[in-house]
């Protein structure tokens, strides 16, 4: 049976994904009950759902908001600075030569390692986390933006030059649109880095955020709540991915 149109195909795909989900979750549920796995080692999916519902309003949601705030602020600041810096250094080649090795160092250094240091200066609150997330996001966004801005088809630059376009016109009409796919690749990686760094930074210190709650519930052997938090983090990552993908598809209509 061959689906005849896009809708039928989409429905079939969705049905397949749902079927996989039911098989996996149902199988896990059955296996865990069958083999009597202790719930502090591996809770059944139903127990995770119960933990999620019971703790959502009191524990999970308030801490999700904290983590989201850190990620939102850190990512926005880091990505904006990254894109801005990329625009500047691609216009000033000497700056690019000076800065690039250090940016590479920033990309390859795990930013979480700075958290204990920054906590000495900025304390256990949100400031430390926002700084670290921005540091984890900015360089990777910048590197991808630079790649995009430099990978412009030279014929398009020839066209603009033959029309006597000024630097700003060349940038706005040709360089920026050419770079958009790369910029979004950078934003996607940056967003993933932000979430990883946020949870890691919350492990290191502080009193709030989903990372902090994971450690806390671990010490109480509340495995079901831990799984519920991990589930929420996974959904959070997925949502960020979907949102960025959506904006990217809206802006880059020609691919």
């Amino acid at each position: 049976m061959k689906p005849e149109n896009g809708l039928a195909r989409k429905l079939l795909d969705a049905a397949l994904i749902a079927l996989t989900f039911i098989l996996l979750v149902g199988g896990a549920e059955a296996a865990i009950h069958l083999f009597r796995v202790p719930r502090w080692i591996l809770p059944a999916p139903s127990q995770v759902v119960v933990a999620l519902v019971n703790n959502f309003g009191t524990e999970i949601l308030p801490n999700l908001i904290v983590t989201l705030k850190e990620v939102g602020l850190g990512f926005t600041i880091g990505a904006s600075l990254g894109i801005l810096l990329a625009m500047v250094i691609t216009q000033v080649p000497i700056l690019e030569k000076m800065i690039t090795p250090y940016i590479l160092l920033l990309v390859t250094t795990p930013m979480i390692s700075l958290v204990p240091l920054l906590m000495l200066v900025f304390g256990f609150g949100i400031t430390t986390k926002v700084i670290v997330i921005a540091l984890a996001t900015g360089p990777v966004v910048m590197m991808n933006t630079v790649t995009g801005l430099q990978g412009v088809d030279p014929l398009r630059l020839d066209l603009m030059r033959s029309l006597h376009a000024n630097t700003f016109q060349v940038f706005w009409e040709v360089r920026l649109p050419s770079a958009l796919p790369s910029i979004f690749t950078g934003l996607m990686i940056g967003a993933v880095f932000s979430i990883i760094t946020a949870v890691g930074a919350e492990f290191v210190g502080g009193t709030a955020g989903l990372g902090n709650r994971l450690l806390f519930n671990s010490s109480l052997l509340n495995t079901a709540v831990m799984y519920a938090i991990i589930l929420v983090l996974a959904l959070m990552g997925l949502s960020v991915y979907v949102i960025i993908q959506f904006i990217s598809k809206r802006l880059i209509t020609w691919k």
Binding site: R156, D158, H164, E173, T253
Partner: protein, 277 residues
């Protein structure tokens, strides 16, 4: 039928484009490479001149120098009496090998781009762009994106963009090379019609000798290493041109003559190289 350079210039007393003693030397890690030996020629107002030659003969280099995209090592380029050497100062429209449209802009905005860069307000530049879109036969496609059009239609848009700002000179760099044979014939005829309607001065670059003869008033024959114009051939076929002319003896003789010129020059150069070695 064939005339010598001295005679040529009298046929174009009012030169729109004058190229004087232009040379180009590229410096490579292996030393200097002379891409273009001293080159001089002129294109009259409203004249259609082609440069024909094998790849590597420097015909694209000469186009880039005229457009101000590459600096000449020596020499001067004048457009309507004004020197434009080394600057993108000339009012020039370029048609690229492949249409070179901006994929993120509609056909309308692509065609209007030269006017936008020149800060013309949107309603006026769109009106002017629509006029040229209609002129090249793309009526009804103004709001499409480039990727929705065929290669031939994209090149029509490329031609409209090169015309929209009423340039003093049109430069075309093998504009129909990427099209299939039938579409190519159609585009050649249509471009000739446009040329006659708009009265443009045209410098047309191609490696297709037949195409150069079919389109032009005059053909400049170039040979490589270093690139130089070895001959000018006047094409006195009646206009408007039509496809049947390809089969006439006069046409075939001109194509044959130009091919001989290129082959002989290449042979002489190989001989010279053998003597040097």
């Amino acid at each position: 039928m064939m005339q010598q350079p001295v005679h040529m210039q009298s046929t174009s007393p009012q030169s729109a484009l004058r190229v004087q003693g232009v040379t180009k030397v590229f410096t490579t890690p292996k030393g200097a490479v002379e891409a273009l030996a001293s080159t001089s020629f002129a294109v009259g107002q409203g004249e259609f001149v082609s440069i024909v030659g094998p790849s590597g003969c420097g015909k694209t280099t000469i186009l880039r120098i005229i457009a101000g995209l590459t600096a000449a090592s020596q020499g001067h380029v004048y457009l309507n009496g004004q020197e434009i050497t080394g600057r993108t100062g000339g009012n020039i429209g370029i048609v690229f090998q492949e249409a070179n449209l901006l994929p993120w802009r509609t056909i309308l905005d692509n065609v209007a781009l030269p006017l936008k860069v020149a800060h013309m307000p949107k309603p006026e530049r769109h009106e002017q762009a629509r006029h040229y879109i209609d002129l090249v036969g793309l009526k009804g496609f103004a709001n499409r994106m480039p990727h929705e059009l065929s290669g031939g239609m994209r090149q029509r848009a490329g031609i409209a963009r090169a015309l929209v700002h009423n340039p003093a000179l049109m430069l075309l760099d093998e504009p129909f090379g990427a099209l299939d044979a039938m579409t190519r014939d159609e585009h050649r005829l249509e471009f000739l019609r446009l040329w006659q309607e708009t009265n443009k001065t045209v410098l047309f670059i191609t490696h297709d000798i037949g195409e150069a003869v079919f389109m032009s008033d005059r053909v400049l024959v170039m040979t490589p290493r270093p690139g130089r114009v070895v001959q000018e051939v006047a094409i006195d076929l009646p206009r408007p041109r039509h496809l049947d002319q390809w089969a006439t003896p006069a046409f075939r003789e001109m194509v044959h003559h130009i091919r001989e010129t290129v082959v002989n020059a290449a042979r002489r150069q190989e001989g010279g190289a053998a003597l040097e070695a």
